[in-house]
């Protein structure tokens, strides 16, 4: 039996590899398994190679993880193009298309001879039973359902539904192809039973979606009625989802002529009083920088989602990286501060996006959500979310009394001033990118500039004590610490489980709020720490460096960071943690005390 099964399927574009994965994850989700599916394609727009990775498990899954338990190759050239994304180990069960002509004991894999190899006439079975080689993916689904006991009934229902429009003959052909896969599996049982164990809580209604769709749905939930943007991989699905949905809520999507116009329209919509959002990725973020500065000085709420990809410049558009934190925190001229949040999973995208709108409205500021390609585009089961638990914050409007003598940028105790919008009588003011006094008149006074800067910074002070935007897991007094964020936090969480299971004293801090750096929270966390790791997907270990700017943590806390598209695996992290344990025990002197 398996508790956790990682399946990789690769073939040529058009082989229906991703569609097979979709059928499997839907069926598994319906049966109550926890699942993650990632897709990967060659850079061609059509054709080229395609693959998907599924992780199906009885326990919650936190990341797609490493080596495959099951590899399915429709042809070996395409399979091998995915390299480290579909790693085959000696224990991997390999299923491949017989017509490739490759002998089971001579697979074109480097450095490994898998013990269990199944050569299956997949295309031949598809043609024989469904009358078309297009049904290859249905045969694969049947094989996997048969060998690993995944979602047989659900998949049959799915096949019937999917092909119902094409007539009874097509439906029956595909059902036969699926059954042929199951029969083949039954006739050729695995050398050891690797069937997925029964799901924990039986049949439970989980959600199944990806981070981009979740982000868009969260925006609508939060009351967003305006989206302006420009298509860019891997964020475009946010705009696409909103374009299908937002009109129903009296909202608008504007596909602008460029990234600048996209966020420009958002700034305008916010000025007009609406909750507004844009979404983009690296290059688009660079272009939006000036508008973010405008929204900061004019104190206009907006949410800007950056679905990070590999950079700089065009970089690696279809691969995840966490290399835009410096940009999110620091880009733009002038003294400026804006909150930066990051989700750690598809489910977490919901609360992160809602929080972003709340912070934007409350503090009258642009807020950046740093998602990444992996979270954005992977499909994942999400436990039901109780939306009634979420409070939605609206910007502070002026009262009648305040409108009688209105001061848009009034210097208040909190730094937050009442904000009017066109249409509101008495609230008329001049919003501007130029420095202004309390009533909004342009000024070049150094004194006023200093006071306005102070206002625009101090309003964020309460954020630094928002402990609800941080999670600390593991032993709170542990001498060994991990800090991780975004999609990589899922890897660190799994590493924490593994470490705890073998008795290591480790804890993990996952910030949802990346900037401003919440000094008190990091100081408390590092108080017990002698050794540690920031685990991140970037060359520079950007969070490590940003936190270092603000917090005096021990020099023995280092970064474990890799450039994008180089998977970080829980087992690798575990190995580092073991080394840290040895290092503490082997150290001759006491670690330096923390400086306050």
């Amino acid at each position: 039996m398996s508790q956790d099964l990682i399946i990789g399927i690769a073939g040529a574009g058009g082989d229906g590899v991703v569609s097979a994965g979709e059928s499997l994850i839907t069926a598994a989700a319906l049966e109550g398994y926890h699942c993650i599916m990632t897709k990967s394609f060659g850079s061609q727009i059509r054709g080229g190679e395609a693959s998907c990775r599924l992780r199906l498990a009885v326990q919650p899954v936190l990341n797609p993880n490493g080596p495959l338990d099951v590899a399915v190759a429709l042809n070996w050239e395409d399979f091998r193009r995915f390299g480290a994304e579909l790693p085959v180990a000696a224990t991997t069960i390999v299923i491949y298309e017989a017509s490739t002509g490759v002998a089971p004991d001579n697979l074109p894999l480097q450095g490994v001879k898998p013990a269990m190899v199944y050569r299956v006439p997949i295309t031949e079975m598809a043609v024989k039973h469904a009358g078309a080689d297009k049904a290859k993916n249905i045969v694969i689904a049947g094989l996997l359902a048969g060998w690993f006991g995944i979602g047989r009934e659900s998949m049959l229902t799915g096949i019937r539904k999917k092909f119902s429009k094409k007539g009874a003959a097509v439906v029956e052909g595909n059902v036969r192809a699926f059954q042929a896969g199951i029969d083949f599996a039954a006739a050729n049982p695995l050398k050891e039973d690797r069937k997925l164990a029964a799901p924990q809580a039986g049949r439970e209604t989980k959600l199944l979606t990806d981070g981009n769709d979740m982000c868009a749905a969260a925006a609508i939930f939060a009351g967003c009625t305006f989206f302006g943007g420009y298509p860019i991989t891997p964020s475009t699905e946010i705009m696409q989802y909103l374009d299908r949905e937002i009109w129903k809520y009296g909202g608008t999507v504007l596909q602008a002529e460029d990234e600048i116009a996209g966020i420009g329209a958002v700034v305008g919509a916010s000025f007009a009083g609406k909750k507004a959002m844009t979404a983009t990725s690296g290059p688009g973020m660079s272009l939006k920088t000036e508008m973010l500065g405008l929204a900061s000085i004019a104190e206009l709420p907006l949410v800007c989602v950056n679905v990070q990809r590999g950079g700089p410049s065009t970089g690696m558009p279809t691969k995840a990286e966490q290399s835009d934190l410096f940009q999110a925190a620091f880009s733009g001229h002038g003294d400026c501060l804006r909150p930066v949040l990051a989700p750690t999973s598809v489910g977490d995208v919901f609360s992160t996006t809602v929080e972003a709108f709340n912070l934007a409205e409350h503090y009258q500021t642009p807020v950046i959500v740093l998602s990444d390609q992996e979270i954005a585009q992977r499909k994942e089961t999400v436990d039901p979310i109780d939306t009634s638990k979420f409070e939605l914050i609206e910007r502070r409007r002026p009262t009648e009394a305040e409108l009688a003598n209105y001061s848009r940028f009034k210097l208040t105790e909190s730094g937050i001033s009442p904000i009017s919008h066109p249409g509101m009588a008495g609230g008329n003011y001049l919003a501007a990118g130029i420095e202004h006094n309390e009533v909004g008149r342009p000024t070049a006074s150094g004194e006023m500039h200093a006071r306005m800067n102070e206002k625009r910074f101090k309003k964020f002070n309460p954020l630094k004590n928002r402990r609800d935007l941080f999670t600390v897991e593991g032993d709170p007094n542990a001498p060994i610490a991990m800090v991780s964020w975004g999609s990589v936090a899922g890897v660190a969480r799994e590493a924490l489980r593994l470490a705890q299971a073998e008795g290591l004293q480790v804890k993990l801090l996952v910030p949802k709020l990346l900037y401003p750096v919440a000094e008190p929270i990091y100081q408390d966390f590092f108080a017990s720490v002698q050794r540690g790791l920031f685990i991140e997907q970037s060359h520079q270990a950007q969070l490590y460096r940003v936190v270092r700017m603000h917090v005096d943590f021990p020099a023995t806390v280092k970064a474990f960071a890799k450039s994008g598209s180089n998977p970080i695996l829980p087992t690798e992290v575990l190995a580092r943690l073991r080394e840290l344990v040895v290092s503490i025990q082997g150290s001759q002197h006491q670690p330096e005390p923390l400086v306050d």
Binding site: T157, L208, F271, G423
Partner: protein
Amino acid sequence: MTTPETVAKPIALAKFQAGDFKSDLKPIWCPGCGDFGVVTAITRALAAIGRPPHEIAFVSGIGCSSRIPGYTTAYGFNTVHGRSLPIAQGIKLANPELLVLVASGDGDGFSIGGGHVAHVVRRNMDLTYIVMDNQIYGLTKGQLSPTSSRGRKTVTSSFGSLEEPVNPLLYVMGYGANYVAQGTPADMNQLAKIIEEGIRYPGFAFINVQSPCVTYGLEEQQLRAHKTNMQNLQTSGHDTSDRAKATEIAREYGHKLYTGVLYRNPNPPPTYGQGVMERQEAAKAHAVSRSEILNRFKPAG
């Protein structure tokens, strides 16, 4: 304004005086700047329209001209260089009931922000776009502008400009603008009139104002010269519904000073905003409550 309701609203004539739209902020412009006339013409037009200042959003970019919103009592937004149009479109889409004016200059509108013009025109956004065209960068003290003539010597073209100027009139005509006019503060009545008509026009309206720079402008660009040279299209019997003729007139930009309405499509096509409202109206019946929005992510069994 876009919709029949909002077009009908402004008929509250004489309710406001031009002075009601003028703020007490002192302009930074040089004495004699053409922009003084433009702000006066705009406030006169707004008084004639009759919408109260708080229902007006006045957006600008950067440059001498872009200070204008602050000199009115409307909700103003003095944004960043070249980006007034996208911001104005966001405002209009967010609240179609607002009267949205956009002010720009030749550099702001046709150089750094030139890329946005095509799109606001082809979308037919219901905005009034007033460009104060003085053929020079005044705020930064006299550099070459996109409408400066070839050969013009400035501090950044010491040996004369090597480029042909942009033709703002032809530019917007080329993208299909439905209301195109040109004016000068040398004829204040006409300038106020063409701005008012532009605001009333249901759809995108473009008004190029030859607004002289007294400090860096050439002699032949000053109001005195305008008074001698301008040719009033409306008193010369020009048919404003004749697109081909209007395009011919637009070609004379930089050579002859035609003032008045060049083109006014007598059959205004639908605006972007109308399309948005129709779509919202059709879609709203399909909305699930916001609190149940995640249900659509339940896998279908």
